[in-house]
Amino acid sequence: MRARVYVTLKPSVFDPQGRVVADALLSLGYEDVSDVRQGKFFDLELSDTDTDPAAARARVTEMAEKLLANPVIESYRVEVLP
């Protein structure tokens, strides 16, 4: 089973990287890009003993909570793939 955890900066938190990417796109002539926010994701390969998607989601949520996301500035979303 596989899971993906998306981690993004909370909307109120400044994203300097996104800003620089937006500026770069602008200077390359992509004037229609008004804003860019950068995020990251983790693709987790789970062993076959996890077969219950609900249980897997709970477990991955725990991992996100504990390690993958920094709750002070980031929020996350968990997706479980079969």
Binding site: L9, K10, S12, V13, F14, D15, P16, R19, V20, D23, L67, L68, N70, P71, V72, I73
Partner: protein, 748 residues
């Protein structure tokens, strides 16, 4: 309009009597925005209301002082028309909440303080305190802080050249992150943060303003408790790239001469910069928040004025020269925007789309801030913790084992794991790499170099804050002297608990008194600093921890000195007296889990003579190495001189010191008596070194000779420590790494 009731005042951290004073200064009831201005400017962090009366007692003048406290940073003359501009700043609370960003933005803040003065920053140092690395939480904070410091400094290209790290459970819930920045400026080019000339435009440049950090300054002035979690969105994200652009652009703009004054927007953001620049220059200021570049929509004047978004500067420009300034910023893809003007009078007037929304006498926010003489009381436990009964500790452990345990103690062990993540070579000025001694940076195009050290021992201050304050100054100055630098200026960061508790206030006052005494005796003026109070978690305060940063001048950048032995057959001398003082030592803490006793005595005249002697010996080329005896005592000092030499050992035999019964050997080897330096010198220099010491009135004793591949130390002829250099060095150099990789916490 919101009524200002007790709840609103409480949320703003304004006491009832302070509010009464606001009413008086305003001559009317403030609106919410105005209350917000008072709340941040009168916070402990910005106003120094509890500490000011004590700080006033510090010596701040001297022949070399070009700028004392009061500006963005202090400055001392280093000859050739140049100044060393330096200051230390803390970011303790933010680093606890978000270690990476908290530490990173702390670095960004102190760098702005330096280039705001017109100086080019050339070095960073940091003094850090964490809980024990045995705990995952402390490891996580440590990891985040170190990578945040590196992340910011490496990117902006200012080398991090030194610092200190101490681990102790008392800092578990309240780590300390103090960062010192040093820059170089032409004395004539120093720029001040004052607004003058009515009608001169006021410019804003840098990052856009967001809602981040609102009430950061008040947060830094409040104790932690459960509810601080709610303040979490107050975390700011650093943008070293933006700061690099600002640094280059501001230094370039300053060269045009078109600036009247400049100040960064740090704590209390736009509020602090507008009111301080106005009151320093004896002028008023008018701004319209509509012009302030904003990152988020719908921000209120309150939010805009109180935001602590990073990487922003406020400038006053000579009228008629706006284009010159704008052109420089455009070159760097920064957009300087006019947000207001300097005005006659003394009022800070804030408009929003042309409508007056706030109107305050600027001095009411700055100079008129409350000043407290808070009650002080020596803690009841103070006398008790000074009692040290060695007999109660049972039979002493073998010296050999204690020695090895100390080498592997994270506080003593090599900090390579830390500085290996810091770019310390960028700038091509770093003469002494971190890990060898006080940091040494040369000043290009001159013959001189500067040595810098940051030091402070919270345990000593806890046992005796007055002596602890003195010892911090002495140690930092001694470290600088051991590199060959003559101490010429100091900055200090005072990290303490809640000043509303009389015991804490007493510790504070005593420590400041100690710092002042030592600075006067050693003739090292304090040119600035920072106070961080409320360092407590759940009512448990940290050790009182003043951190001293001392700058030393080396007339000749080639005549430097480091700690490492240079050749076999050199003789090893201990300068100063070994008194076998174990009180407050790392030995007692590490081996016996006890923090008790009287910290080492300090005779400032002797200290001064010792430092003078060491500097002279280095200048004369008489010694090959010099190392201060500090944590871990003589044994650890000798071992450290052997580390980094490729395995060059020594044999030493030291006379027993003090009167410690069965602990005699331990007190001799691990006691932390002050005013001691271990030097090594070529055999033919023996007479010269001893004679110089005698002439200086400094006790000097040849205690051994370099050679072989073992560290062999005897007390009164009996060898009690005998380790292969390689083995000892392995313990010492990998102690932190081992703890950090074992835990498996990641540095995401």
């Amino acid at each position: 309009m919101t009524v200002i009731d007790a709840a609103v005042l409480e949320r703003h951290g304004i006491a009832p009597d302070e509010y009464a004073r606001i009413l008086e200064l305003m001559g009317r009831e403030p609106n919410l925005l105005e209350l917000g201005l008072f709340s941040v400017m009168w916070s402990e962090h910005c106003s120094y209301k509890s500490s000011r009366v004590h700080l006033k007692t510090l010596p701040t003048t001297g022949p070399r002082v070009v700028q004392g406290p009061g500006e963005n940073a202090g400055a001392v003359d280093i000859g050739g028309g140049l100044c060393a501009v330096f200051k230390i700043e803390s970011h303790n609370h933010p680093s606890f909440i978000e270690p990476y960003q908290g530490a990173a933005t702390g670095v960004g803040g102190i760098i702005r303080d330096i280039f705001t003065m017109g100086a080019r920053p050339i070095a960073l140092l940091n003094a850090l305190r964490f809980g024990s690395l045995e705990h995952p939480q402390a490891r996580r904070i440590f990891e985040g802080v170190v990578s945040g410091i590196g992340g910011y400094g490496n990117s902006i290209g200012i080398p991090t050249v030194g610092g200190e790290v101490v681990f102790d459970e008392l800092y578990a819930g309240n780590p300390l992150v103090n960062v010192l920045c040093l820059g170089i400026a032409r004395a004539d080019d120093i720029v001040k943060g004052a607004a003058r000339g009515a009608g001169n435009p006021v410019y804003y440049v840098g990052a856009r303003t967001g809602r981040d950090g609102i009430h950061g300054a008040t947060m830094a002035s409040a104790e932690f408790d459960e509810s601080s979690a709610e303040k979490r969105p107050a975390v700011q994200v650093g943008d070293p790239f933006m700061e690099k652009l600002l640094l280059e652009a501001c230094l370039e703009v300053m060269k045009t001469g078109a600036l009247v004054g400049i100040q960064d927007m740090g704590a209390a953001g736009l509020t602090c910069s507008t009111s301080e620049m106005g009151s320093r220059g004896g002028h008023g200021m008018v701004v319209d928040v509509m012009h302030v570049p904003q990152r988020e929509t719908g921000m209120s004047p309150y939010e805009i004025m109180l935001s602590e978004s990073q990487e922003r500067m406020l400038m006053v420009v000579h009228r008629g020269r706006e284009r010159e300034v704008e052109a420089v910023f455009e070159k760097w893809d920064l957009h300087a925007v006019k947000i207001g003007e300097v005005a006659e009078g003394d009022r800070l007037k804030i408009f929003d789309h042309g409508q007056l929304v706030g109107d305050v006498p600027n001095r009411a926010l700055t100079d008129e801030a409350p000043v407290y003489r808070r009650p002080m009381r020596e803690p009841e436990w103070q006398a008790e913790v000074r009692q040290l009964d060695l007999a109660s500790l049972g039979a002493p452990p073998a010296a050999q084992g204690a020695f090895e345990a100390l080498l592997a103690s994270p506080t003593i062990a090599s900090k390579r794991w830390v500085y290996g993540q810091y770019d310390h070579t960028v700038g091509t000025n770093t003469i002494a790499q971190p890990g060898l001694s006080a940091a040494i940076v040369r000043v290009k195009d001159t013959p001189v170099a500067l040595a810098i050290s940051v030091d402070g021992n919270g345990r000593f201050c806890y046992l005796d804050p007055h002596r602890g304050g003195m010892l911090a100054v002495a140690e930092a100055a001694r470290n600088v002297a051991c590199a060959g630098g003559e101490p010429i200026g100091a900055t200090n960061n005072l990290n303490f608990g809640n000043p509303e508790r009389p015991e804490i206030m007493w510790q504070f006052a005593e420590a400041v008194r100690g710092i002042g005494d030592a600075c006067r005796a050693l003739e090292v003026p304090i040119t600035g600093g920072n106070v961080s109070l409320y360092n407590e978690t759940e009512g448990r305060a940290i050790y009182p921890t003043p951190v001293l940063g001392v700058i030393g001048l080396l007339d000749d950048a080639e005549a430097t000195c480091t700690r490492t032995f240079k050749q076999p057959g050199a003789f090893v001398v201990m300068l100063g007296d070994n008194r076998g003082e174990l009180g407050g030592s790392e030995y007692l803490a590490r081996l016996h889990g006890t923090v008790r006793g009287v910290p080492p005595a300090l005779d400032l005249a002797r200290e001064r003579a010792l430092q003078r002697l060491v500097i002279d010996l280095i200048r004369a080329g008489a010694v090959q190495s010099a190392h201060d005896c500090a944590e871990g005592g003589l044994a650890v000092t000798l071992a450290e001189c052997a580390f980094g030499t490729g395995g060059l050992g020594l044999r030493a035999d030291v006379p027993a010191a003090g009167d410690a019964g069965p602990y005699q050997a331990h007190a001799t080897l691990f006691g932390e008596s002050a005013s001691r330096v271990v030097v090594s010198a070529a055999p033919e220099r023996r007479a010269q070194v001893i004679e110089a010491a005698v002439a200086a009135g400094v006790p000097a004793r040849v205690i051994g000779e370099t050679g072989g591949a073992r560290i062999a130390i005897a007390v009164e002829g009996t060898v009690v420590i005998d380790s292969a250099v390689d083995h000892a060095e392995q313990l010492w150099s990998t102690a932190i790494e081992r703890r950090m990789t074992r835990g498996g916490d990641s540095g995401l």
